[in-house]
């Protein structure tokens, strides 16, 4: 047999009415407050605690007449109205505080906590529904409800980690509100749970009582725990607060660095944050970056004094190679620094060193002696490191941009050089030519050119400036100019080469020289005249014999003998040619192209064989491509090749 709720003692009808009203309130407010509070209206702990108090105060005030004993004299209708008001205020306080505390709990959300809170609500809603339908339940169900509720309360009231979110300046006001709330809670608990004189608790052992007890119990216990928690938290609040500020300071500095503020702005922010978060009374920052003028910032210190202060500190802080932080806890006692100290009693000086370069110094002061503890110095150091990181990152970025710029310049240089070297050789009437040129880097020291001397004669020059890359390319451009002007004088080949040697000797570094081959083709006489100035020999293909050979001759490179003695080394050769004969002019990049595995060069012999083999092609371009393909097959994947140039010329 179950136990059912006792019949009410006195006015049964009125009891039902009250109970119905209160149950409706309960349900309505449970939902209303749940969504209102969860709607994000409350963002800080202080807001929430103040709201709890705003619910608690009316409920507490409503109790005063009853406790003072003046209600017994009231007429029955007024008394009824009072009871309803009292019940209402009490109910919304209990539910409001319940919801608000839940939102406090959810400030640091965990999956477990969320589940228990949801369970708690479900329990309350079930209770409220049962309350409205007035279903009498067996005793053990009620006991089970008490148990479940009790466990929930015990779990939730020990979850106080929102306390760590309380800011230093909010602590006292929150504590004050919690004291008020707890006083009212004590009254309410006494009135409704202990004295049990209140009429809607005159029924014992019912479900409604279980739910009220649980809810009131939770609110009261949680309020008490919150107050106690906050009081116990006071001593450690400073540390947490400090850590929070440090984190915020660091975020501020890195944010300013992220927005690509200049180094000065990042350092200024670091300075402001360091003074603020170490609670320093004064300080200065001195720094000098990138050849710019030194920058001095000061707070509560005379700007003009900073330099002398810095000079005094420098030998101490930058002690030898290692720069070290200097903590002077009793500044007034310090023999050299105290005259400058301006009444400050403790000082912290920190060097700013990036990649072993001293960038500057940060100095902080306080009006109390021994005022900088390990935490603060650590914080200041961290701030400096963050600012220095930002500075270094910026350096890296600038370096990258500079490199990018250089690469861009190289690209332009390559385009210019490509324009300096003609794609084809002019004056091809009577002979035809194909060319190939490929620098090892963006630009190179190889070149060729052709000049029409008269209707029958064309001059061709192919050359190679020693070395490669940009320096060789600049010299190559110069030589192009030299030949361009000299060919206009209609000089004999020997005279032209001697003059070219003079021009080159005048402007080349001593260890740089040029090899070249200067050739004048005379289609009327069907011969070519040439001077080989230390350049690779001519490879000649005799079409009638179907064989090739290198033409043996003498000659010295240009820029080697820089005086009149050079003329003695210039040898002029003449060579007649037949139709369909081919000459191959090339630079040493071709025959010295090395197989990376065997270290063997392509060499003169292979080049010659390749030419003979490739003459099976009718089209001259295909002959050259065949030779280049042979060369590439030989070097395989070798990427460290020299500048390479090749000209094939077939006589008509």
């Amino acid at each position: 047999m179950g136990y059912y709720g006792k019949p009410t003692p006195a006015d049964n009808g009125l009891w039902y009415f009250y109970l119905l009203c209160i149950s409706a309130f309960f349900l309505g407010h449970l939902f209303f407050l749940r969504f209102w509070v969860a709607g994000g209206k409350y963002s800080t702990v202080e807001d929430i605690v103040q709201s709890v108090a705003s619910f608690a105060v009316p409920a507490g005030l409503m109790l005063i007449p009853e406790m003072a004993g003046i209600i017994t004299d009231l007429p029955p209708n007024t008394l009824t109205a009072y009871r309803i008001g009292e019940g209402y205020l009490f109910t919304i306080y209990v539910l409001g505080s319940l919801n608000l505390y839940m939102s406090l709990l959810l400030m640091r959300r965990t999956a477990n906590k969320s589940k228990i809170i949801d369970g708690f609500y479900v329990l309350l809603i079930i209770c409220a529904v049962l309350l409205v339908v007035r279903l009498h339940l067996p005793y053990w169900v009620i006991i089970a409800f008490y148990l479940a509720g009790g466990i929930g309360v015990a779990y939730l009231t020990t979850r106080l980690n929102w306390i760590s979110l309380v800011r230093k300046n909010q602590k006292s006001s929150i504590a004050l509100w919690l004291v008020v709330i707890n006083l009212i809670n004590a009254l309410l608990v006494y009135q409704y749970l202990i004295s049990r004189e209140n009429f809607f608790f005159s029924v014992y052992g019912t479900l409604p009582e279980a739910i009220y007890t649980i809810t009131i119990g939770f609110s009261a216990i949680y309020g008490l725990m919150a107050l106690l928690g906050l009081l116990f938290y006071f001593p450690v609040a400073d540390i947490v607060d400090q850590q929070t500020r440090e984190l915020e300071g660091l975020m501020e500095i890195s944010e300013s660095a992220r927005q690509r503020e200049n180094v000065g702005q990042v350092f200024d922010r670091m300075f402001a944050a360091a003074i603020r978060d170490t609670d320093s009374d004064a300080g200065w920052l001195w720094y000098k970056v990138d050849k710019q003028d030194a920058v001095v910032k000061a707070k509560n210190v005379n700007l003009s004094k900073v330099n002398s202060f810095k000079d005094a500190l420098e030998p101490i802080v930058y002690n030898g190679r290692a720069a070290e932080m200097l903590d002077v806890p009793e500044l007034q006692e310090h023999p050299t620094l105290s005259p400058m100290s301006n009444g400050f009693k403790s000082m912290l000086a920190l060097p700013m060193v990036s990649n072993r370069v001293d960038l500057g110094m940060l100095c902080l002061f306080k009006n109390q002696a021994n005022a900088y503890d390990g935490r603060m110095t650590g914080m200041a150091k961290t701030y400096i490191n963050f600012a220095l990181n930002a500075y270094e990152n910026q350096q890296v970025l600038e370096e990258t941009l500079r490199n990018e710029h250089v690469l861009e310049e190289y690209k332009i240089a390559r385009q210019i050089q490509q324009r300096l070297i003609p794609a084809t050789l002019t004056g091809q009437n009577g002979w035809q030519a194909v060319t190939f040129i490929e620098p090892s880097k963006e630009v190179g020291g190889d070149f060729y050119d052709s000049f029409v001397l008269d209707e029958n004669r064309t001059a061709i020059v192919i050359g190679d400036v020693s070395g490669n890359g940009m320096a060789a390319a600049l010299h190559m451009a110069e030589i192009k100019g030299v030949f361009h002007s000299l060919t206009a004088f209609n000089l004999e080949p020997k005279e032209l080469i001697v003059r070219a040697n003079n021009a080159i000797s005048a402007c080349f570094e001593k260890n740089r020289f040029v090899t070249l081959l200067y050739m004048v083709i005379d289609k009327k006489e069907r011969k070519f005249t040439y001077i080989r100035a230390g350049h690779c020999p001519i490879l000649y293909y005799d079409s009638r014999l179907h064989e090739a050979h290198y033409i043996k001759d003498e000659g010295l490179g240009l820029g080697i003998l820089r005086d009149q003695a050079y003329a003695g080394h210039v040898h002029v050769y003449e060579q007649p040619y037949q139709q369909n004969d081919i000459i191959v002019l090339f630079t040493d990049g071709i025959d010295e192209a090395v197989d990376p595995k065997t270290k063997e060069a392509f060499g003169h012999d292979r080049l010659k064989a390749s030419l003979v083999e490739a003459t099976r092609h009718e089209v001259l371009d295909k002959v050259m491509k065949g030779m280049l393909a042979d060369m590439r097959r030989h070097v395989k994947d070798n990427r460290e090749l020299d500048d390479m140039t090749m000209i094939l010329l077939r006589f008509g």
């Binding site: 020693s466 230390g534 080697i560």
Partner: protein, 113 residues
């Protein structure tokens, strides 16, 4: 590249081992500059172990030709292998530099002048 110096009877012998490329040319240049400062101007280059010479390496010898002449000294090369000699020959350096077969010839040549 290994550069070994040996000074005896007023003749500086520089033994080159390996490949005289752009990088080692700088070392060789330093070596020769220092020798000139010490007025060691009769320089024999031992090429027996020289496998390869780049144009930068040639540039080192070319750049000191005038200075040596001014001091009354000279370079004498000996022991070149075929490919190294080929480089000298194509460039025409064999006509302006003393290149002999062995150490004895080099010393004899040096002492004649």
């Amino acid at each position: 590249m290994e550069i070994i110096q040996h000074y005896e009877d007023e003749i500086l012998t520089i033994q080159l081992t390996g490949e005289l490329d752009a990088k080692s040319s700088i070392d060789l240049d330093e070596t020769i500059k220092l020798a000139l400062l010490q007025e060691k101007t009769r320089i024999v280059i031992d090429c027996q172990r020289l496998n390869y010479i780049s144009s930068a390496g040639l540039g080192v010898f070319i750049s000191h030709l005038d200075d040596l002449k001014a001091y009354g000294g000279k370079f004498v090369f000996y022991g070149m292998n075929g490919s190294v000699y080929n480089v000298f020959e194509i460039l025409g350096l064999h006509t302006i530099m003393e290149i002999v077969r062995d150490r004895f010839e080099a010393q004899t040549l040096m002492n004649e002048s």
